[in-house]
Symmetry: C2
Subunit: 299 residues, 2 copies
């Protein structure tokens, strides 16, 4: 398994200004895998409860997503409920039930331990570190995080940052982690903590890739109708890591292309509830939108 | 005079979270001209009171900015006072005194009436139209506007939109003018009102160029230290129009390059109070930052 993701498999209940869905398939690893699989096989590491539908597991396997790393425990799967306001940028969490995820102890199957590309979706930094330690000699480890861990597990997070090559975070998290308001100053302060590069996500305003010799800004793909923004960040990470794993390289040009692929998979993600749109594409459609985005952004 | 701008010449009092200035030189035409002049001569049309400093007029003329179109009237010059919050995106207007600008009746000197490129900075649409009617056969007329006119002078504004080639506005104005939240849907609705293209400004998040066969997104230049955002939109317009006028063309490739030049002049503008930084560059520094921006955004 060349590419592995460790994250959540969940049920989400989502309200948007226009519609709602109850208990649909969600979770960071779900979104990541459904985006990354257009570029090659993905190994999934996570935990589900007894309520997790067999159909969803079959959907994964039908799509080149390996589920040997998914553990089933007694109890219920992770559950999240949220509501978006009309500007899409304001999201209210209505409910979070960790359930089996509160006992998550990632165990990577033997076949995953030689992975070259590893994505650590948002989780407690100590759990992310335990996953990382099971992969023998990865070429590229990228982690996501969130305000909760920046606030409450800063020491663990800094320990993790010394071990990863890349960090994906949004603009507010970057400001919080660095204590700097200006994003470019914030990025420099975070790079000093260890990572070689950052992907700074700004939602509808696109993303930056910033590293020692890297400075790249990319607008979002011009989506005409947002249906549900849930999972866009993880779908971005999936396209980003999937395209890198498939190229087998992490040079500057490949990283720039990966930013475009991540933007493309994120754009498909927000065009449907949950993974309903993201999961049902083919590589040609991903490629067409990649070319459109390139045309849209080439100066 | 190949390029003409009609707009305000003003005094501004500005408070930022870090510093403040009293009654410094401002106004839309001032910012526009100080940005556009790096690309060639600019003709200035506006009105000032008896209090307007002769030194400022000399500064214009020293910089290839023609002031024959500036009328001096009895009374005081336009005055604006505002305060920015720490996020830079929230601006409070503390005072607006139109003074001589309330009687502004633009009169273009003979030498300006053959202009090929005309920029109508934000003003009452009827005043913008009176300026436009004095230019014999311009190749490109671009107008700016604001929420006040969208709200209170919609009929006049729609009349103007049928006569201009391009419209510059920010995302909130685009939503207000079109009644659509999605920016791409908003843009299409506005293009139906007449203009061939729109420049949608999103401040620190860059700008879009949208037209019938045009779709181009450009991030802002990564400014490390914002000092004063006042005038950034007009400085953008100055770089945009100046580079077009100097190229003498409005094809898609030239318009894309003009977006970069506008972004560059806007970025210099926000690095100082008023025009203190924008007015004191040279073409080589503009060109260096243009290349940096191109590098920063090329996918």
């Amino acid at each position: 398994m060349n590419l592995v993701v460790v994250g959540t498999l969940a049920f989400d209940s989502i309200e948007t200004p226009y519609d709602r869905r109850e208990r649909i398939l969600g979770g960071s690893a779900t979104y990541f895998a459904h985006a990354a699989r257009y570029f090659g096989a993905v190994g999934l590491v996570g935990v589900v409860g007894k309520d997790f539908p067999r159909g969803a597991m079959e959907d994964f396997r039908d799509r080149n997503i390996d589920t040997r790393g998914v553990e089933e425990l007694e109890g219920k799967s992770f559950f999240w409920a949220g509501r978006y306001e009309a500007d899409w940028n304001t999201r209210h969490t209505l409910d979070t039930q960790l359930n089996v995820f509160s006992n998550f102890d990632p165990k990577l199957p033997q076949g995953y331990r030689e992975a070259s590309f590893l994505f650590l979706a948002n989780a407690e930094p100590a759990v992310q570190l335990r996953s990382l330690e099971q992969v023998r000699s990865p070429d590229l480890v990228v982690a996501d995080t969130m305000n909760l861990w920046i606030d409450s597990k800063r020491g663990d997070l800094e320990g993790l940052l010394r071990r990863v090559h890349g960090l994906v975070l949004n603009d507010e998290e970057a400001r919080m982690l660095s204590g700097r308001r200006n994003l470019f100053q914030a990025a420099r302060a975070i790079l000093d903590l260890g990572p070689r590069f950052l992907v700074l996500k700004k939602g509808e305003h696109g993303a930056f890739l910033l590293g020692e010799d890297l400075r790249f800004a990319l607008p979002a793909y011009p989506v005409e109708e947002v249906v549900d923004p849930t999972g866009a960040g993880d779908a971005f990470a999936g396209g980003f890591m999937g395209s890198l794993a498939s190229a087998g390289s992490v040079d500057a040009a490949t990283l720039r292309r990966a930013m475009l692929y991540g933007t493309v998979t994120a754009s498909f993600c927000v065009e449907g509830f949950g993974v309903e749109r993201l999961a049902n594409l083919d590589r040609a459609r991903v490629e067409t939108r990649f070319q459109e985005l390139k045309q849209f952004t080439t100066p």
